[in-house]
C-alpha cells in the first residue's frame, strides 16, 4: 500500500528533519504507516538537504512504514553526481532514467496526509516509543487522556520506566550522557550542526558525551574540515564509526537509571542498556543538552 505525506511550508530556524519526523510519528503513531511505503513531498521536503531527507526516510520505519522515498530533484541529482564520478560519462542516460522516478500527476494513494512545517518545533521524546515526543516547550501528556486502555497502560508503563510525571516539562531535565551518531543522525551535516552549537564552549562536567560518525568517510571528512577538532576541544569523545550506543551491543552502554540525550531512532526500554533512559532529539538539541547538562531549547542558546 502507498501513503503520501505532504509537508507544506518551511521548517523554522532551529528545527530539523528529525523534529519533523518525530512530529509526524507523534501524530500518526508508531504504527500509523504500518504496511505502507511512504512518499514524502511538498515544499518543506523540497527545502531539505539530501542528508536531512535521509533522516526523514530512515525514521519513517518508526511509524511502521515498510520504506519511505522522496522523488529525485535537481538537488538530489547533484548530490549523486558529486559522489559518483563514473556516472559523468553517462549523465544524459542517467537523467533520462531517473527523471521518470516520480509519481504520476494523477497517481492515487491508499492514504494521504498533510502536515504544516510551521507547526514543528524542536521535539524530545519522554517515553519508550518514538511516538512519545513533545515540543521542547510542551508538557508530558496525561495517560488519563489516552485513546484506549492499551494506550493508557503503555503510556503509564513508559512514564514509570523513564521516571517522569505527566504535566511536567522536559526543559531542565538533567542528563548523564549524550550520544551523537547512528544511521539516523551520524552524517557530516549532523556533526557540523553539533560543531556549530558547541564551538568554543565545553560539555558540562557532569556529562559524558560521545560522537560516533556514521561511517569512516564521514569521520575522515569531519577531521579534514576541522569539525572533529571543535568537538574534541569541547570535550566530546571522538570515536570510531559504528552503531555504538544506538543499540549498545558493544561496551557503550547506559547504566540503570542513566539518562541520555541521543540522536538515534529508538528509545525502547533497555535499548541503550538495561534501565537506561533515552531521549531522542536532533543533533543540535543533543549538543545544547551536552553543554547545559540538561535538556534545553537549542534556540535559546546564546549564539
Amino acid at each position: 500500500m502507498d501513503m503520501r505525506i505532504r509537508v507544506d511550508g518551511r521548517l523554522a530556524l532551529g528545527c530539523t528533519s528529525k523534529d519533523l519526523i518525530l512530529h509526524i510519528i507523534n501524530r500518526i503513531g508508531a504504527q500509523g504507516a504500518r504496511g505502507y511505503v511512504v512518499e514524502f513531498c511538498g515544499a518543506a521536503i523540497e527545502g531539505l538537504s539530501i542528508e536531512a531527507r535521509m533522516t526523514l526516510c530512515n525514521m519513517a520505519v518508526e511509524a511502521g512504514a515498510r520504506g519511505a522515498l522522496i522523488a529525485p530533484d535537481e538537488r538530489l541529482l547533484r548530490y549523486v553526481f558529486d559522489r559518483a564520478p563514473d556516472m559523468h560519462a553517462h549523465r544524459a542516460e542517467a537523467l533520462h532514467l531517473w527523471n521518470e522516478l516520480k509519481s504520476d500527476g494523477n497517481a492515487r494513494f491508499d492514504a494521504e496526509l498533510t502536515f504544516d512545517a510551521a507547526q514543528v518545533g524542536p521535539r524530545v521524546t519522554w517515553g519508550t516509543s518514538p511516538e512519545q515526543s513533545i515540543p521542547i516547550d510542551g508538557v508530558i501528556p496525561d495517560p488519563a487522556e489516552a485513546a484506549s486502555p492499551t494506550a493508557r497502560s503503555s503510556h503509564e508503563r513508559a512514564l514509570l520506566y523513564t521516571g517522569l510525571n505527566p504535566g511536567t516539562s522536559l526543559e531542565g531535565l538533567h542528563i548523564d550522557r549524550v550520544f551523537i551518531g547512528s544511521c539516523t543522525n551520524g552524517r557530516i551535516e549532523d556533526l557540523r550542526a553539533v560543531a556549530q552549537v558547541v564551538k568554543g564552549r565545553t560539555v558540562d562536567k557532569k556529562v559524558r558525551a560521545m560522537v560516533v560518525p556514521g561511517s569512516g568517510a564521514v569521520r575522515k571528512q569531519a577531521e579534514d574540515e576541522g569539525v572533529a577538532a571543535i568537538l574534541i576541544d569541547a570535550g566530546f569523545e571522538w570515536r570510531q564509526p559504528g552503531c555504538s550506543m544506538c543499540l549498545a551491543m558493544n561496551d557503550d552502554v547506559l547504566k540503570p537509571g542513566e539518562r541520555c540525550a541521543s540522536t538515534t531512532n529508538r528509545n525502547f526500554e533497555g535499548r541503550q542498556g538495561r534501565g537506561g533512559r533515552t531521549h531522542l532529539m536532533s543533533p543540535a538539541m543533543a549538543a545544547a543538552a551536552a553543554l547545559s547538562g540538561f535538556i534545553t531549547d537549542v534556540r535559546k542558546m546564546e549564539p
Binding site: A30, G64, A89, E93, E269
Partner: protein, 218 residues
C-alpha cells in the same frame, strides 16, 4: 510435504502494546554466530529481574502458562528493530503462534519466513480470547490455519492471512523458496533490464576497475 493445519496449546496473555523486538530479544543475545541459545534471551527483562532471578509475577513464569505455545499479544506486536532473532527466540522457546490486533511489519515477514504463525484479529476479538486465557482453567487455544479461525473456550474468530502466506505456511516455504519457484521469470527480467540499460553495466564495470586498481596501489 507435511501439511500443518492446526496449532493447539496453552495460550499466555501478553497484552502489551508496541512490544518491540528489543524487548523480545535484547541485544546481548544477538552476538552468537548461529541461531542457537536464543530461548534464554526471550523477553529477558520481563522474565528476569536485575539480579537474573525469575520474576514470579510474569505470565511465562507462572506454572499454568509455563508450557504455552501461543501468545495473545497487544497491538503492533514486534515493532522496531528488524532482528530476526526475535522470531528465532520465540520458536526456540516453544511458541508456535501469536494472536494480536496488529504486528510490526518486518517482524511479520520474518515470522512468516520462519513458520511462526501470526494471526491478526480485531481488538474486540483479541479481547474476547484474552478473557478466556486469563483464566488458567480456560487457557487452551486452537488455531486452524486452513480455515483461518482462532478458537478459545468461549470464543472463535476468523483471522486475516494472505493467500500467499497461508500457502508458504502450509507448504513449508520461505520467501526465497517461493521466489526460486519463479527462476525463469527472474532470468528473463534480468536479461531485458541489461538490454534496455546497457550503460548501467558499463558504469558498474568502470567503478569495479577504479576501486580494484585503487586497492592494488593503496
Amino acid at each position: 510435504m507435511p501439511e500443518r493445519r492446526t496449532i493447539e496449546g496453552i495460550a499466555a496473555p501478553l497484552p502489551i502494546g508496541n512490544l518491540d523486538t528489543d524487548q523480545i530479544m535484547p541485544k546481548q543475545f544477538l552476538r552468537g554466530i548461529d541461531k542457537g541459545g536464543l530461548a534464554n534471551g526471550l523477553l529477558y527483562d520481563l522474565r528476569f529481574n536485575a539480579t537474573g532471578n525469575p520474576r514470579g509475577d510474569f505470565v511465562l513464569n507462572r506454572t499454568a502458562y509455563a508450557q504455552c505455545q501461543i501468545l495473545i499479544g497487544g497491538e503492533n506486536f514486534g515493532c522496531g528493530s528488524s532482528r530476526e532473532h526475535a522470531v528465532w527466540g520465540l520458536l526456540q522457546y516453544g511458541i508456535k503462534a501469536i494472536v494480536a490486533p496488529s504486528f510490526g511489519e518486518i517482524f511479520y515477514s520474518n515470522a512468516m519466513n520462519n513458520q511462526l504463525l501470526l494471526a491478526t484479529l480485531p481488538q474486540a476479538a483479541v479481547d474476547a480470547i484474552l478473557s478466556d486465557v486469563l483464566n488458567p482453567l480456560t487457557n487452551r487455544v486452537v488455531i486452524d490455519i486452513h480455515d483461518r479461525i482462532v478458537r478459545s473456550r468461549n470464543h472463535a474468530a476468523h483471522f486475516s492471512l494472505s493467500a500467499r502466506h497461508q500457502r508458504m505456511f502450509i507448504e513449508g516455504l520461505d520467501l526465497i523458496g517461493s521466489s526460486l519457484a519463479r527462476r525463469a521469470a527472474i532470468a528473463e527480467f534480468e536479461q531485458a533490464h541489461w538490454a534496455r540499460q546497457l550503460w548501467l553495466e558499463k558504469v558498474a564495470a568502470v567503478t569495479r576497475n577504479r576501486l580494484s586498481s585503487g586497492r592494488a596501489s593503496g
